[in-house]
């Protein structure tokens, strides 16, 4: 039974115009996948000229609902009504032609084709099968102009050469070109930085003014409350409720999503006694990616790495972990001096790395939960070691132990990782590194794209890891996360470390350093370790 909250359904207020007919409505939509009921009798109405956010934990059914509406999935039962009339989409194309467009988190574009070719893929203006290049260019310019972008994006530009934010604009342009009435966006701001988010927000406002219905999934409640007019909350495939954004608070929404209050959103910081010896010491290290890195990590502490997009934080992680080894300078783990030459070397030295892009770098999607968890620890053993089902010789029960520790929710350990939600995939990645008992753990955006409840449990696990004696380096673009989790904060800018701040620094202080304004101290703050 779906848990109903006490917020009443939207009612037309006296000053509003008479309630509009919803442009898109889903009624009692049910969708099953092998082993999981993704949507259970979900009904929602979406109105024209409104921004409607859909929120929920990972696995709540948000993506599934979007895909049903966009024609990518066929519901098992239930109806979709477009402007009051029942419709059924056999293919995403049909949905597009009827005015319902979707933009996925992984952009659906072809990097080797031009902007124009991408926007009009499948609908190229043509005569007798031959493409009218002139018309193609004109139409592309017209569409980009509607977005106020004709000056900055050229129709002839090769899509792969554009920055991610511009690529997203091209995706949006694709929908405009389709004359969409409903635009669905899955986590549109996940890969964008501050300035780009603003641009997207303004774009959404413009589209809204045109009468489009905008539906988007997001985990960033701050943005949801800034942009959305209506919020729908899903939980475990059920509709919890739909409410106007100004009728609830973020806490209300979180409660609807998880069914309980999250009072300690961040685990407590480390005390002075909990911080131990220097585990990782880097001096004047440089390579083609980063320069003049001076860094010390102590056991038991979490050092947050803040910085704007492009400041080199991921480069730092990759350099430390040996993906792109340092060329000069020195690096020592637990006193053993060795410039890390490769990830395998890094793992042997006791390092672990949870990457930013789990789809591309973190998981083996076609392999089971079991095999993913055992991935790193198997790397430490020789090729001739007999593989065990659930662990290694010294620890045969590794998989169930770790899976419980990180609270992975999966049908079984044999389930392929690609079928797990993002949050659960991240937990499996964490389990993988816990298996190798790392001394230095690097996290790059550990909770990006993950729901509130999983976020909290991952934060707890990161703190537990530190308490057990690991030195943790945590890169994050979410300042509340940096401030909430870090015992110390280092800030990067222009591919080097420009400053260090103590725990509980303010967002303003961090931003000042992140935008390139150096504080009075030397640019490379890490000369001595302990504070």
């Amino acid at each position: 039974m779906p848990e109903q909250n006490s917020v009443s359904p939207p009612v037309a207020r006296p000053q509003d115009a008479p309630e509009q007919e919803p442009i898109l409505e889903v009624r009692n939509i049910t969708k099953r996948f092998p082993g999981v009921l993704a949507l259970n009798q979900v009904s929602v109405q979406f109105n024209p000229g409104e921004v409607h956010a859909v929120v929920g934990e990972n696995g709540a059914g948000k993506s599934t609902l979007m895909k049903v509406m966009a024609g990518a999935y066929l519901p098992d039962s239930g109806d979709i009504l477009l402007q009051g009339k029942k419709v059924s989409f056999a293919h995403p194309r049909e949905a597009q032609l009827m005015g319902v467009s979707i933009i996925y988190q992984e952009l659906n574009l072809l990097p080797e084709r031009t902007v124009a070719q991408n926007i009009f893929l499948g609908r190229e203006p043509s005569r007798l099968g031959v493409i009218d290049n002139h018309a193609l260019e004109q139409k592309t310019r017209a569409v980009l102009q509607e977005l106020d972008y004709s000056g900055e994006i050229s129709p002839q530009a090769m899509l792969g050469t554009l920055p991610v934010a511009d690529q997203q604009i091209v995706e949006i342009a694709k929908s405009i070109a389709f004359d969409s009435k409903v635009l669905i966006m899955d986590e549109p701001t996940a890969a964008l930085s501050g300035n780009e988010v603003e641009i997207l927000t303004r774009l959404i406002e413009r589209l809204k003014a045109r009468g489009m219905a905008i539906i988007f999934i997001s985990h960033r409640l701050i943005e949801v409350f800034e942009i959305a007019d209506q919020i729908t909350v899903l939980k475990d495939g059920n509709l919890v409720g739909t409410t106007p954004a100004d009728a609830v608070t973020p806490e209300d929404v979180i409660r609807m999503m998880v069914g309980r209050d999250l009072d300690h959103y961040f685990p407590p910081l480390a005390t002075a006694e909990e911080i131990g010896e220097v585990v990782l010491k880097v001096e004047q290290a440089s390579n083609d990616l980063v320069r003049d890195i001076n860094l010390e990590l102590q056991a038991g502490e979490i050092v947050g790495v803040a910085g704007l997009q492009g400041s080199g934080r991921t480069f730092l992680a990759q350099s430390l972990f040996g993906v792109q080894p340092f060329k000069t300078g020195s690096l020592a783990v637990n006193g053993k001096v060795a410039l890390v030459k490769s990830p395998n070397h890094a793992i042997e030295l006791g390092m672990g790395y949870v990457t930013e892009d789990r789809k591309a770098e973190g998981i083996l999607p076609n392999q089971s939960v079991r095999d993913n968890i055992l991935l790193a620890i198997r790397a430490l053993h020789s090729l001739l070691t007999r593989t065990q089902r659930n662990g290694v010789a010294k620890n045969p029960n590794l998989v169930p132990t770790l899976a419980d520790e990180v609270d992975v929710r999966a049908a079984s350990y044999d389930q392929e990782l690609q079928y797990l939600s993002g949050g659960n995939q991240q937990k499996v990645i964490l389990a993988k590194w816990l298996a190798t008992t790392t001394k230095v753990m690097i996290f790059d955006e550990p909770t990006r794209g993950i729901d509130v409840e999983a976020k909290a449990s991952i934060h707890d696990m990161i703190r537990d890891l530190a308490r057990q004696g690991a030195a943790v380096l945590m890169i994050s673009s979410e300042l509340p996360e940096i401030i909430g989790m870090s015992d110390r904060i280092i800030v990067m800018w222009d591919n080097t470390i420009v400053g260090e701040l103590p725990a509980n620094a303010s967002e303003a202080e961090i931003m000042l350093l992140a935008t390139g304004h150096q504080n009075g101290n030397s640019k490379n703050a890490e000369q001595t370790g302990a504070k």
Partner: protein
């Protein structure tokens, strides 16, 4: 470093939309001429030799154009060699040296080719068999059928038909004209038609194409039919030069692996989504130049193969380095 300047030249060429392989072709040609002047008979620049290079390239060139289509679609066709054999054998068998039977035979072999292409396409898209495996299987089936029915050269084509292989239109061999026509048609289809755009889409990212509403299965099946038809055309060319067809003419000429090699050297990625006919033609000509050069220099056949293989590896490696640089 040589690699850096090399990729720089490639990049500048790419900016002007000439495939980078033409840089490789220019280098190979110049080096070839120099080597020939020093070690050989210095005939590399004579018109006869140059024409020879082109004519040698016709057979491989035509089928490589078809292979370009399937490879842009991220597919591959290993059955072309046996399609060529089937065409050659069936042509000479059906024509029996009688000029009156030529039109009907040509119709028949193109029909057979279309069926082969259709079969390949259906197995790959509907049965979801990996293209490499599917076309390998088709090729072997064709091989079996051929060897069961024919053991040697059988029948013959009429002398009039041999003008395809040997005739001239003024100073220009007809075969070269046919190659140029096929290349132009192929290039235009890829660059200018909706089908071409869709093929690049399906090859670049099938999911993106599907979600954009493209009928991905049809696009791939069509590419395979096109490829088989070019194989048929090559088969007709081969049989017109040999006068008669035997089951081994296709595999003997290494048309399967060499067409793939020419396509990748030409800049089309195995992973699909980019490339084109212009690059493939350059790739084919490079192999033609090398063949002729090695003949002129009296290089041992086996050494030829070693050098061939090395060039294929180096060319594709330089493309990979370039794309990795661009991605970084």
């Amino acid at each position: 470093m040589t690699t850096t300047t090399f990729t720089n030249v490639q990049n500048r060429l790419r900016a002007s939309r000439i495939p980078p392989v033409y840089a490789i072709l220019a280098v190979v040609f110049v080096v070839g001429i120099l080597l020939d002047m020093v070690f050989g008979r210095g005939q590399m620049t004579s018109p006869t030799i140059l024409a020879n290079i082109l004519v040698r390239s016709v057979a491989l060139g035509i089928v490589a154009i078809g292979q370009t289509f399937v490879m842009i679609g991220a597919s591959i066709d290993l059955s072309v060699a046996y399609t060529i054999s089937v065409t050659a054998v069936m042509s000479s068998f059906l024509m029996q040296g009688d000029p009156a039977r030529v039109p009907m035979t040509i119709l028949a072999v193109f029909l057979i080719g279309a069926v082969i292409g259709l079969a390949n396409g259906l197995v790959i898209t509907k049965l979801r068999v990996n293209a490499f495996i599917a076309t390998l299987g088709t090729g072997l089936i064709l091989k079996g059928l051929l060897n069961a029915s024919f053991s040697n050269f059988t029948g013959s084509v009429p002398a009039s038909f041999q003008t395809f292989g040997y005739g001239q239109l003024g100073p220009i061999p007809i075969s070269i004209i046919i190659l140029v026509v096929v290349a132009i048609i192929g290039g235009l289809i890829l660059a200018r038609t909706k089908y071409g755009a869709h093929l690049y889409g399906v090859g670049g990212n099938t999911e993106v194409a599907r979600l954009s509403g493209l009928r991905t299965d049809r696009v791939i099946i069509t590419a395979h039919v096109i490829c088989s038809m070019t194989a048929v055309l090559t088969g007709l060319f081969v049989v017109s030069r040999l006068r008669s067809g035997a089951p081994w003419v296709g595999p003997d000429g290494l048309y399967d692996l060499e067409s793939i090699a020419a396509v990748v050297v030409g800049g089309t990625a195995l992973s699909g989504g980019r490339g084109g006919v212009a690059g493939t033609i350059a790739g084919v000509i490079i192999f033609g130049v090398l063949d002729t050069l090695f003949n002129q220099l009296g290089v041992d056949t086996f050494l030829k193969q070693v050098l061939r293989g090395a060039i294929i590896i180096l060319a594709v490696a330089s493309y990979t380095i370039r794309s990795r640089r661009e991605a970084a």
